[in-house]
């Protein structure tokens, strides 16, 4: 009979799930991992909740680092940010291979479990990269730069290092509308992530006086830099999918 370990949708949660499933000694083929409150329940399976504790997650992390190397650690972390429901089980399957093979595992894409992890990694990385390109900040009257995103995967933590480098002397916030999470950066300092109970704080962030002016200047530039003889909406759409556009200054007010 299959035993399914459920864990919370977070990096630590998944690692605790991996720990409990592994230490249950039921055999890899008899256990599986699932996120709490997602998907349908399976018949003929026993559900167990993985108890979350920082110690367990730390232990698993240390084991991955020692046996499978840094690169594997990073890949597992990024995969845990993915939006796919089966990510916990896929990470488990990857680790089964990784502990056997060692650091070389990250290149062995011919193994399906490794490929699945690679694929999740790629989609998370791609979305983070896209949002680094496409996030738009608005300057508020208190001088804070405020950007809103609505990503599929939980990528704002991956965007933060780039902007803390680039906008080091600015106060800025990147807010993930779907997860109510934000990255907050203080001028000249570091950054942190925060979960927010609701988005009432947004009402307090009024635009600064020149925000409107630069928004319209940017729209003018965006419109005039295109060559009319080469108009190609399909090409534009492949590079800049519609799902990003509601958050972008230059497409605001455009009918879809």
């Amino acid at each position: 009979m299959m035993t399914i370990f459920t864990c919370t949708d977070s990096f630590e949660g998944i690692l605790c799930g991996v720990h409990d499933a592994w230490m249950s000694r039921l055999g890899h083929e008899n256990v599986s991992l699932a996120l709490e409150d997602t998907g349908n329940l399976r018949m003929f399976a026993e559900y167990r909740r993985a108890e979350e504790s920082p110690g367990k997650a730390e232990k698993v992390m240390e084991a991955i680092r020692r046996k499978a190397g840094r690169e594997a650690c990073e890949r597992v972390y990024r995969a845990s940010l993915s939006c796919e429901e089966q990510k916990a089980d896929r990470i488990y399957r990857f680790l089964v291979c990784a502990f056997r093979v060692g650091p070389e595992i990250v290149n062995m894409l011919q193994i399906p479990a490794v490929y699945e992890l690679f694929r999740m990694n790629r989609s998370v990385e791609n979305e983070a990269r896209s949002l680094i390109e496409f996030v738009r900040f608005a300057r508020t009257d208190s001088g804070i730069l405020f950007g809103v995103v609505g990503p599929r995967c939980d990528v704002i933590a991956l965007m933060a290092p780039h902007f803390s480098e680039r906008l080091n002397a600015e106060n800025w916030i990147i807010y993930d509308e779907k997860r109510r999470k934000a990255v907050i950066h203080r001028a000249g300092g570091g950054w942190l992530t925060a979960r927010l109970p609701d988005d009432s704080f947004r009402r307090k962030l009024a635009d600064s006086g020149d925000q409107q002016e630069f928004e319209s200047l940017w729209k003018i530039f965006h419109e005039h830099t295109a060559i009319p003889e080469r108009k190609n909406p399909r090409c534009q759409m492949t590079h800049l999918p519609l799902r990003f556009r509601p958050y972008m200054t230059e497409f605001k007010g455009e009918r879809r």
């Binding site: 011919q110 730069l145 003018i220 590079h239």
Partner: protein
């Protein structure tokens, strides 16, 4: 006659971004620079695109002209002296303000500053230098800056601007001296290649640790040691304005990469903005497919180890409309195929159609650890649609394919023809026909043939 009137920033931006849009060289790549405390900005080696315009081209830099007033009368150019268009000029402060505020909001990756020639090349270059200096030192801008070198400007001015910019470029515009003479009579090739050589030697000296010195300009102080054009230089050629063929264009590009250490050559499909008797009429719109093929070939030169002479020759001077340059080359060299994916070295893998730089690297990394099959190759990003005809894996091809030029060409055409059609004939009306519709009816693939032969429909 110049009518003076006060223009606001919006009108100026509209006019001067309109005037700059035909320059294709808009990338922000080539230099990795960390942020500096108290300053705004950093750069990424691969460059970052921030938006895509309605023509599908990336918007990375704030691409503007300093002014669209020009003393020249180049026939292909929208800003030529004899055109009756509204003229405007920014002030250095306006450009700084736009760049800083756009950058802060993550709209752009930096500034691309070009200009029409105002009064004289020296005067223009000086204004551009002043703008960029202000941006770097008064505003504390640490992002990407691309500046055009104006042919004919004093080398001191170009040298000093190079200390502030990340990339510089001089546009070759037309690949041959005759072409330049007919369409841009007031420019000459020697004056274009002069600054190009100057920038090249400056970069080379910088790499040996020598900062090119010149007389520092009046009032311009450089508070810290800077690099000279660290992201290298680029240039642009117009495709289809003069009768040069693809072979000529590609050999010129190759010579530029080899002799001038250029980072990029850009190709810009000619857009007929002026009604001039010396310009070609282009009833089908700009030659976009030709431009596309040239870019494909350019990639083959820079990343795949091809030479211009391998892809084209005097007797075969133009690219195939229906096949991309790599497939075309492979079909003419079937004696080198099929290649064995398990053992072939990296350079050989790169020459297989359907395998790119990334997938070749993944294959090399993965096969160290175990055997591969076609499904694994597909997962590594190999485009099997093209690669199956040129690849074996474990000594076998995916399907039994005769190594016959005509057969493989016919197979590849079905797929490639529709893509070429999309680029070349976009949005054009075409009568649907039930019988002869090469662009909509797919040619049966090898898979179809096998399943038909085995009766597995």
């Amino acid at each position: 006659m110049l009518i003076q009137q006060e223009m606001d920033l919006k009108e100026k931006l509209a006019i001067l971004s309109d005037a700059a849009r035909y320059d294709a060289a808009c990338t922000s790549s080539g230099v990795e620079r960390k942020g500096k405390p108290g300053q705004l900005g950093s750069t990424a080696f691969a460059g970052i695109c921030h938006s895509f315009a309605a023509d599908g081209r990336c918007i990375s830099l704030l691409k503007i002209l300093y002014t669209n007033q020009c003393v020249y009368d180049c026939r292909y150019c929208v800003n030529r002296r004899s055109n009756d268009v509204p003229r405007a000029a920014f002030t250095p402060d306006e450009i700084c303000r736009l760049t800083m505020e756009f950058y802060r909001r993550n709209y752009i990756e930096g500034l691309f500053l070009s200009s029409g020639v105002l009064e004289s090349p020296d005067r223009t270059m000086e204004l551009m230098h002043r703008t960029v200096w202000k941006l770097r030192y008064e505003c504390g801008f640490n992002g990407y800056i691309h500046v055009k070198a104006i042919p004919g400007a004093d080398p001191v001015l170009i040298g000093q601007t190079g200390l502030l910019a990340d990339r510089m470029s001089v546009n070759l515009e037309l690949p041959t001296a005759e072409g330049l003479k007919s369409l841009a009579p007031s420019k000459d090739r020697a004056r274009i290649l002069g600054p190009m050589r100057q920038i090249q030697t400056g970069i080379a000296a910088m790499e040996r640790g020598i900062v090119p010195r010149g007389e520092p300009l009046k009032g311009a102080v450089y508070p810290w040691r800077r690099q000279f054009v660290p992201a290298g230089q680029s240039t642009q050629m117009i495709v289809g304005a003069t009768p040069e063929n693809d072979y000529q264009m590609l050999t010129v590009a190759e010579a530029l990469y080899r002799n001038y250490d250029l980072k990029r050559v850009f190709y810009s499909a000619f857009v007929r903005v002026n009604d001039d008797s010396l310009l070609p009429a282009l009833p089908g719109g700009p030659p976009l497919l030709r431009e596309h093929r040239l870019y494909q070939a350019d990639w083959l030169l820079r990343f795949y180890g091809f030479t211009a002479g391998e892809l084209l020759s005097e007797s075969h001077p133009d690219f195939n409309i229906f096949l991309d340059p790599k497939c075309d080359w492979a079909l003419r060299h079937l004696e080198m195929f099929p290649v064995e994916a398990q053992t072939a070295d990296y350079g050989t893998l790169l020459r297989v159609p359907g395998i790119g730089v990334r997938s070749a690297k993944r294959i090399v990394a993965a096969r160290r650890a175990g055997r591969l099959d076609f499904a694994a190759l597909k997962r590594m990003g190999v485009v099997l649609k093209r690669a199956v005809y040129f690849l074996t894996c474990g000594g076998r091809m995916m399907y039994p394919v005769p190594m016959d030029q005509d057969f493989i060409a016919a197979q590849l055409l079905g797929e490639e023809r529709r893509r070429a059609w999309d680029i070349g004939q976009k949005d054009s009306y075409r009568q649907l026909s039930m019988f002869d519709d090469g662009f909509l009816n797919p040619v049966p693939t090898a898979e179809d043939r096998v399943s038909a032969a085995l009766g597995q429909m």
